[in-house]
Every structure is written in structure tokens, then in C-alpha cells.
Amino acid sequence: MEFFNNLDIGFHAALSLNNLLFCFIGVMVGTAIGMLPGLGPLATIAMLLPLTYTLEPVSGLIMIAGIYYGAQYGGSTTAILVNLPGESSSVVSCIDGHQMARKGRAGAALAIAALGSFFAGTVATLLIAAFSPILAEVAFLFGPVEYFAMMVLGLTAATLLAHGSFIKGVAMVLTGLILGLVGADVNSGTYRFTFGSFSLTEGIEFVAVAMGLFAFTDIVANIRNNQTREVTAPSLRSLTMTAKEFRQAVFPAVRGTAIGSLLGLLPGGGAMISSFASYAIEKRVSRRPEEFGHGAVAGLAGPEAANNAGAQTSFIPMLTLGIPSNGVMALMIGALMVHNIAPGPYVMVSNPEIFWGLIASMWIGNAMLVVLNLPLIPLWVRLIQVHYWVLFPIILAVCCVGLFSIENRVLPIYIAAGFTVLGCLFWRMRAEAAPLLLGFILGPLMEEHFRRSLLLSNGDLAIFYRSPLSVVMLSVAAVMCLIIVLPQIRQGRKVAFEEEV
């Protein structure tokens, strides 16, 4: 009964005219930007975050969430029509989705992607509503020791599953943790690493970090990249799928939803891994594996459902534990903190309208995507052909004005310029920037819990081995680190990511 009660609170919040509008804006902007070349969900959200600061917390979060799954969907559309993934989680959709388009089934492919995503989104929304309260109950039992252990585990797993070298990922997490410590120390009030600047006492503005590392660095990386895009445009009449295609899509979509929901829960999991896993499984269970790569319906429906389910269930650890499992969730946590809401199990109790409103809006947003996007395909097709030289000045200017508008100061803009240079160097050094962002968000929290644990134990480090939960989490993290050193598995991981390039 409580389950329905909660959903009722959620729909009540999400269905207000205002929030519906922001959900709509988020979904549309997200789709548009997900389709554009060289602008992933992380850069998009970073760019639009300042806009959400002036909104009510619920509206702001609903809009950001809308951008996230809108971008997911937009990425698949580009994958199917142009054979270029709009973003990393739709890489797999290129394989069979584009083949379908070339056989004249572009409309059907888009419809399968949309309906598969919608089905997965519905199931994932129900799962979040059902399991978040349970997970939050567990989180209430956590003390500082368990929290610290969980952060270590979360960061390790997120780094392990992100692509790129593992050791450089860990180094990036540490760099992020250190950068997160800039500003006043919570316990003593000492200003750390501010170099005498009063403006830095509140820490480095995290939107500036995100914009510099993602939006601006992407511009530098893409500016000389002149890809010509050939669009296989579908006619509107071909949007309907045949009964046979529908039958072929049903079971893969169900399986994809299950895989995605599960993998999204894991730290470091989410949309991309889910879609890869689903494709591999569909290929294995298929009775006609030779069709894969030549327009197999199952090879599109499965991964599409999986990436949407994964994108959505990755909200669970963020909402209940306050632990971001990927870069997008790190930005969501940052957005919550701006509104003075500390992410964690207490959000559900103290701000039920935010928690349940966000969940209800996910379902509404998914429904909007299906209803609005299919008829708008001609518009999207034109958008895909926008030149990059039009795009990047827009990104730059909107980001810079946004940075200024956060606090009417130019300091965040200067910081963003610094992180642009840093981001370019990281790009050159093949060091992934997303782990840095996770560390940056978790830095102060991790220090807090570490210090409090040792204060409780009176300086005895063994406290981390006395709590059974903490032992389990730290051991899993240690095992993960060991596994990555073994060459055999490192090879397997390399192969898994090579398909993407």
C-alpha cells in the first residue's frame, strides 16, 4: 500500500504543469543534443546545470533527468540513421540498427528502439520505486566505517568499469579527491589549498570543473574532426513494424530490461555496459546468430531496452546511498547539493516530493519520448546535419554565461578555462576524466567519514575490519584490484572495449 502511496506523492509532484514543462524541455533538449555530434550527456548536463539552479529543486532534477534519458534516446536515433553513435551507450545500436535502416526498415528500427526503451523505462521505474526504500533502510544502518568502505568500493568499481587504463583511472580518482578538498576544512575551519584567495574558501565550483573537463575539452578534441554524415532518412509511412518484427523484438527487449536493470545497480554500471552485455547475450541465445550484424531485430531491441533500463536503475544507488556510480550521477549529486539537499537515505524522508517526483517524472519522460519523438523524426534528421562550426561557439557562449550566472562572479569562468587546459592534457594522456569527477564529488565526504571512523576507534585502523559489512565491501574492492592485475582478464576487458572503437 505504501508503494502506491509513494507513487501517488511522486505523480502529484511530477504532474504539476510547471514540472511537466521542465520534463518536456529536458527530454527535447536532451534528445536534440544526444543526436548532435561530439556532445555526450555529461557535457550536455554540465552545460545546462546553471540553468536549473534558479528552478525549484524538483523541477531542476526532473529536467536534468529528462536530459539524461533524452540524450540516451537521441544517441540511438543517430546510431540507426547515420551509423554514428551519438554517445557511447548507443555504439551497439549502430551494428544492427543501421543495417535495418539500409534495408529500408529505418522507421521500424526507430519504433523498436523507442518502444523497447519505453518498456524498459516503465519496468525500471517500478523497480526503483519498489527497491529504493529497502536499500535506504539498509543505508540507515551504515555508520562512518561502512560509508567509507562503500565509497572505496564504489570508486574502485566505477574506475574498473570505466574504459581506459585502470591505474590511471585510480590516479584520476585521487586527483579528484584532492581537488575536492580545496576550501575550508569542515572540522577545523582551516582554509586548505586556497593560495590566499578568499573566493576559493567555499571550494572549487564543480560546474566549472565539469564544463572544463567535458564540454570544453570535447570542443578541442572535435574541432578538426570533419565527419560527413550521410543520413538514411526514413519516410514516415514506414514507421510501423510488421507483426513478425514485433514478435522478434519482444523477448530480447524483456531480457535486455532484466540485464540493464541489474547492471545499472552496480557501481560503475549503467547504460553502456548494459547494452554491450545485452548484445552479447542476444547473439548467444539466438537461433540464427548469423543474422547479427545484418539487421537482426533482436540485436537492436535487446541493447536498446538494456541501455535505458541501466540508465535508470543507476539512479538507485545515487538516490538511496548518495554514491554516484557514473559521471552523470556525480553531476546529479552536485545538483542536489546546490539546493542544500545532502544525497543519501534521508532524502526520501525529508524531501519525499523530490525523491518520488523524480521517479514519477522518469516514467512521464519516457512516455513523452515515445509520443513526441517519432512524429518529429524529420526535424531530427535535419538537426543531425548541423555543422560543428555552428555548434561549438554556441556551447562555449552558453556555458560561459551560465558559469557567470551561478553567483554573478567571473571566477568560475577562469577556473573552467584552467580545467579546459587540464582536460586537454588528460585527453592527450589517455586519462579518463569521469573518475576525477566522482572523486571530486566524494572527496569531502570520504575525508569526513574516514576521520570520524578513526575518531570512534581512537586511532585503531582495525575498525575497518571489525564491521562485517565493511570487511565484505573492502574485500570486494581489493579482489577487483587484484583481478585487474591478472593479464588474462585485462585482455578480456580490452576486447570488450575494442568493439566500441
Binding site: K168, I219, V220, F392, P393, F404, A417, M429, R430, S457
Partner: protein, 170 residues
């Protein structure tokens, strides 16, 4: 390279050109550079932490946690560096030099001009400098984009969201 294509600022001397070519264009090993960066950043953090009170393990001062992080990072950096020197490292991506400089510069110029002159100048200046980094530079495009963006930023930030962005800061 200073002159990737014709409309490039030709201010740099041949010598500087060669040095920059070595730094930015040679496909050196990514891990050597990353190792150096992390070692230096970690060591600097640990060194700077020393100026803050360390405290004891039980009652940590503000210097302890960053000191520990800095040390671990420096060690990891050293491992990455050694891996790079021994030849197991990854190849670096070729970073386009002029876009890196021009895009960063355009952001700095925007920040500087926004409060001294105002958005009406800062935004077109940014667009012009940033466009210079692209092969598609033309004054017509700069003007068109600037006008469009000024209208958009004014509409969204000032009119719709009610933020105070100085159009002309005199």
C-alpha cells in the same frame, strides 16, 4: 605546427615552433607524461599539506588526509611513469595545439571582458577567437553567430530566468 592552415596567427618564431612541435605533435608515450603529472601533483599536494596541522590518527588535523592522498598519488604516478619508460605504456593522442590555446583563450577573454566592458563585447570576442580555431572561420559567420547568441542569451538568461548579466558594464 603554427600553420595548420592559412588563416593562422603567424606570431611564433621558428624555434618556438620546433619546440612546440616536439611537445605537442610527437606521438610520445601517454604514460610517461601522465606519470610525471601524477607524481608531481601528488608530491606537491603532500608537500603543501605539511603547512597544515597533522594531528594524530585518532584526531586528524586538516593536513593528514590530503597528505595521505598526495603520497598515494605520487607512488601511483611513479608506477605509471616506470611502466611508460619500460615501454608498456599507451600512445598519446595528438593534441591539436592551436585549438587548445584559442579555445582556452576565448574563455579567458570572455571572463575578462564581461565585467570590464559587458556581454555585448565579450560574447562576439569569444566567438571570434573560438571560430579562429576552426577551419571554417569567416567574419560573416562570426557576426551571424554572435548576433544569434546575444539574442538567445539575453532571452534565456536575462528575460526568462531573470539573471543579471551586464550587457554593458560602464
Amino acid at each position: 605546427m603554427c600553420s595548420g592552415h592559412s588563416a593562422r596567427p603567424a606570431a611564433c618564431s621558428i624555434y618556438a615552433n620546433e619546440v612546440l612541435t616536439v611537445i605537442f605533435k610527437t606521438n610520445g608515450r601517454a604514460d610517461i607524461e601522465a606519470g610525471l603529472f601524477f607524481t608531481f601533483f601528488g608530491a606537491a599536494t603532500a608537500a603543501l599539506s605539511l603547512q597544515y596541522r597533522m594531528g594524530t590518527i585518532a584526531a586528524m588535523g586538516p593536513g593528514m588526509f590530503p597528505f595521505i592522498l598526495g603520497l598515494i598519488l605520487a607512488v601511483l604516478g611513479a608506477i605509471i611513469l616506470v611502466k611508460g619508460i619500460l615501454g608498456g605504456g599507451e600512445e598519446a593522442r595528438p593534441l591539436p595545439l592551436w585549438p587548445t590555446i584559442l579555445i582556452s583563450l576565448s574563455i579567458l577573454v570572455f571572463a575578462f571582458l564581461l565585467l570590464t566592458v559587458g556581454l555585448l563585447v565579450a560574447l562576439p570576442a569569444q566567438v571570434a577567437i573560438a571560430m579562429w580555431a576552426s577551419e571554417h572561420f569567416s567574419w560573416k559567420r562570426v557576426i551571424a553567430l554572435s548576433l544569434g547568441l546575444l539574442a538567445f542569451c539575453y532571452g534565456v538568461f536575462v528575460y526568462f530566468l531573470g539573471m543579471s548579466v551586464p550587457l554593458l558594464a560602464v
